[in-house]
């Protein structure tokens, strides 16, 4: 709906639309002309309103026209709005709107001010060495963090508003000289096509952006750290910020990303490689050890070395449950404890770990309900899973599935289900990027940042797994300076 020159008509409409007690309609006079300043009480900086809007309005002495009004105010964030619908949107975004009689447009001042969390180290990706700052819930702060990392004119932010009721600002971030244009276009179109009530967190976008509606694995990457995001953007990925979420999304996503940690890039390549191998083995142990143990106990005794078998038989003698039920029960208890400890307040969490870990475990073994090897295997599996925290939830589901399969059909069932998983993973693509690259399809040049972490000199080219328009990222120039002193 277009604005009219009659202030009263405009205000009447806006008062009807923004009929809420926290919306202020402040009547002011500009050179004897009626004007109204509209804002939401708790979202704007009132000092700034006084300084940047009311004081210039009081001193205004030119004829009242849209252009004169626009020129008279020195607010750095100002724009003209021509429709009443946009006025409403601007108010809801936390801006202050000035409407004057006889002018068929309004002025919007970006004077938002609301409480925000300070920049802290994100709890999900702590590092011993390396930057400790993390994103916060405020989009402008997050954008500023990125700008501080990448001071280039090629860094682009494109804004989209998503959410019928939330009107959440969503920002697309990429480097124009690196990112694949087609991919940027595809993501933008996909974002624009989202029609949803509200976007309360970036995970909403993450789920809606994925090409596979039913997917066991993540389709969109995420990070809470500006340094990681900057590195990903520099590889040709595209980031998506959502106002209100400290988690930035990255597209396209590769499975290997979650096996890479920020510290890998700040430590020596040797330790990074060892750490990655360790993570991979940990995941294999976490996923398959309970299932393999149960399968071996139930169907394949010959796989267990004799001395180990005797120890197992010693410990399971008298246990009333079959090995598969026993393992399942223990896993169930573990998952319950895990869920409870995440939800509980910190100080109660300590009690949960004591009760769960010591009392429940020790008592269950002593009472002969579960055996010590089973408890040990679940504990080991549980710990191993957290070496790759990003995939913890997916792997927890898979672990339970594999346990059920191993317990009901043995090793061959497990082999078949793993084969099925392999086919699923290698055929999985999102935005034309294979999930399992650089392993399948095999991209040998990208293997130096796979399980093996190469030296920085080896990363002269950007990864081929992600489409990009600029291949080289490092040039080593010979300085001609003799290193020998």
């Amino acid at each position: 709906m277009k604005m009219v020159k009659n202030l009263k008509t405009n205000i009447k409409y806006l008062q009807k639309t923004l009929d809420s007690e926290d919306v202020t309609f402040l009547e002011v006079k500009i050179k004897n002309t009626d004007a109204v300043l509209i804002f939401i009480n708790d979202l704007v900086n009132k000092d700034a309103i006084g300084e940047l809007v009311l004081r210039p309005a009081f001193n205004y002495d030119k004829p009242i026209t849209a252009q004169n009004l626009f020129d008279a105010f020195f607010s750095p964030e100002k724009k003209q709005v021509f429709s009443l619908k946009d006025v409403v949107n601007e108010v809801l975004l936390g801006n202050a709107i000035l409407l004057a009689d006889g002018v068929d447009s309004a002025l919007s001042f970006g004077l938002k001010q609301f409480e925000k969390r300070s920049i802290t180290e994100p709890p999900t990706s702590t590092v011993i060495k390396g930057p400790r700052e993390g994103f916060v819930e405020s989009l402008p702060v997050n954008i500023s963090l990125m700008r501080r990392k990448l001071k280039t004119q090629d860094l682009r932010f494109e804004n989209v508003t998503i959410g019928r009721y939330s009107k959440t600002p969503v920002a697309l971030c990429y480097i124009t000289s690196i990112a694949d244009k087609k991919l940027v276009k595809a993501i933008k179109e996909k974002l624009k096509s989202i029609d949803i009530d509200a976007v309360l967190d970036s995970s909403y976008i993450s789920k809606l952006l994925g090409e596979h509606k039913i997917s066991l694995f993540k389709q969109i990457g995420n990070t809470e750290k500006p340094d990681i995001l900057a590195a990903k953007i520099l590889e040709g990925r595209i980031a998506i910020f959502v106002d209100g979420s400290p988690i930035a999304l990255t597209v396209p996503y590769l499975l290997i990303e979650d096996f890479q940690s920020a510290s890998d890039y700040y430590n020596s390549p040797y330790s990074a490689t060892v750490a990655r191998v360790l993570r991979l083995f940990s995941v294999l142990i976490a996923l398959f050890l309970p299932a393999l143990f149960v399968a071996a106990e139930l169907f394949h005794l010959q796989l267990i070395p004799l001395s180990f078998l005797l120890t197992i038989v010693n410990s399971i003698k008298g246990i009333p449950l079959s090995p598969s039920y026993e393992m399942f029960l223990t896993l169930l208890i573990f998952e319950i404890l895990n869920e409870a400890s995440v939800r509980m307040p910190k100080y109660v969490g300590m009690v949960v770990s004591i009760v769960g870990g010591l009392v429940l475990g020790e008592t269950a073994v002593n009472a002969g309900i579960i055996s010590a090897p089973t408890l040990m295997i679940i504990a080991l599996s549980g710990i191993c899973l957290y070496t790759v925290p990003e995939l913890e939830q997916t792997f927890a589901v898979l672990r339970a599935l594999f346990l059920i399969i191993g317990g009901s059909s043995g090793l061959y069932g497990l082999i078949c289900s793993i084969t099925l998983l392999i086919i699923y993973l290698i055929s999985f693509e999102n935005f034309s990027t294979p999930l399992c690259a650089p392993f399948s399809p095999l991209i040998i040049k990208d293997m130096k940042d796979g399980i093996y972490k190469g030296f920085i000199e080896e990363h002269q080219m950007r990864p081929l797994s992600i489409k990009n328009t600029n291949k080289r990222r490092l040039k080593i120039k010979k300085t001609g300076v003799d290193n020998e002193i």
Binding site: F299, H300, L301, Q302, L303, I304, P305, L306, F308, I405, S409, G410, L411, Y412, G413, I415, C416, S417, I418, T419, L420, I422, I423, Y424, I426, S427, P434, C436, F439, S440, P441, L442
Partner: protein, 361 residues
């Protein structure tokens, strides 16, 4: 033109999937007939396959379209359907023995007690799932599984080679040409790998020297097979023909196994992964053929039919497995040879007729 595969994937395909299905019962089949000369029988079959693969690779070089279009271009719609039907039957028959081998292996050695046949059935959903996937998934599976095959093979090799008495293959050729050729003939069901390559024609961008790469990959694969056969015979010598599942048998005589348990199963399980794919391949290509013959768009329908028929064969003809195996080694061997080796060897002729412009089709 968008290619489904890379040359690298075709090469790795040959390394990942060709050797493994020859490590189950084929060694004992060959040893039973040609004893110490079993490796010569194997060498004959491998040489025939090498020739076929070299000729199919030549076709890949010449052709700008895929095999289906080539056949249709040469023989017309009806003729092509007939030829494709022959290949369909070939792949359906070729799948029976390896699937039964794996089933028997699972029943007899993997489980402590003989499990019900239903324990083998999870194999079929896997094949079904694979059959509905595009060809590039086979290429990507090769990218992953070649390493499984090689690690599995080297684990077994490392554990077994010290127990082998390599003089056991002497004197060479003493069993006579008759037995050697007869063993080779009976093993045709396990060979004829050139037929797979037909379906890669036009699916990858043939560049200069690609032919050498593909043939070299097959040579590596053949070397793995041949060395396995020799080591197998040199370990078991006079009782080689009694070892039903060669690849689980050869590694268990190492002393460390006594102390650490059957850790050779690491290698064995890796090989079973590759083998699960390997024995699915005939059914995968059978599905592709069926899709083409009937112009089916919904791949799951053909996949369901092919996998269902194969499962039915397994369930109903389970008791007659030995008869089926004897048929495959006997009368059907000639069929396997003709379709698996002879027909693909003539594939270069398909490129003689001027191809239609399929890119605009």
């Amino acid at each position: 033109m968008k290619f489904e595969l890379r040359t690298r994937q075709v090469c790795l395909f040959l390394i990942a999937f060709i050797p493994i299905n020859k490590m189950f019962i084929l060694p004992s089949v060959l040893a039973k007939i040609s004893n110490a000369d079993m490796w010569i029988s194997c060498l004959i079959s491998l040489s025939l396959d090498l020739l076929t693969i070299a000729l199919v690779t030549f076709t890949c070089r010449q052709s700008k379209t895929d095999f289906f279009n080539l056949v249709e271009n040469t023989f017309g719609k009806v003729g092509s359907k007939l030829i494709l039907s022959v290949f369909f039957v070939y792949f359906m028959l070729k799948a029976i023995i390896p699937i039964n081998e794996q089933k028997e292996y699972v029943e007899l050695t993997l489980y402590t007690l003989k499990p019900s046949i239903f324990y083998f059935l999870p194999f079929f959903p896997v094949v079904f799932y694979l059959c509905i996937k595009p060809l590039r998934v086979i290429g990507r599976a090769s990218d992953v599984l070649w390493i499984c095959t090689l690690i599995g093979y080297f684990v077994l090799l490392f554990l077994s080679v010290t127990n082998a008495d390599f003089s056991a293959i002497l004197p060479v050729g003493v069993n006579g040409a008759n037995k050697i050729v007869s063993a080779s003939f009976k093993g045709f069901n396990w060979f004829g790998d050139g037929a797979y390559l037909l379906f890669f024609i036009g699916e990858f961008c043939y560049k200069k020297h690609d032919g050498i790469k593909i043939v070299a990959s097959y040579l590596l694969s053949a070397l793995i097979i041949l060395s396995f056969m020799i080591i197998f015979y040199c370990i078991f010598t006079s009782i080689a023909h009694r070892q039903r599942f060669a690849f689980t048998e050869i590694s268990k005589y190492t002393t460390v196994i006594n102390n650490l348990g059957r850790f050779d199963y690491i290698g064995i399980v890796l090989l079973i992964f590759s083998n699960t794919f390997s024995i699915s391949l005939p059914l995968y290509f059978a599905c592709r053929i069926l899709n083409r013959i009937f112009n089916v768009k919904k791949k799951w329908i053909t996949a369901l039919c092919v996998v269902g028929v194969q499962a039915l064969i397994l369930l109903t003809l389970n008791r007659f497995y030995l008869t089926i195996e004897n048929l495959a080694k006997g009368g059907f061997a000639i069929f396997f040879f003709i379709v698996g080796n002879v027909l693909p060897a003539f594939s270069p002729l398909l490129t003689l007729k001027k191809e239609k412009n399929y890119e605009n089709a």
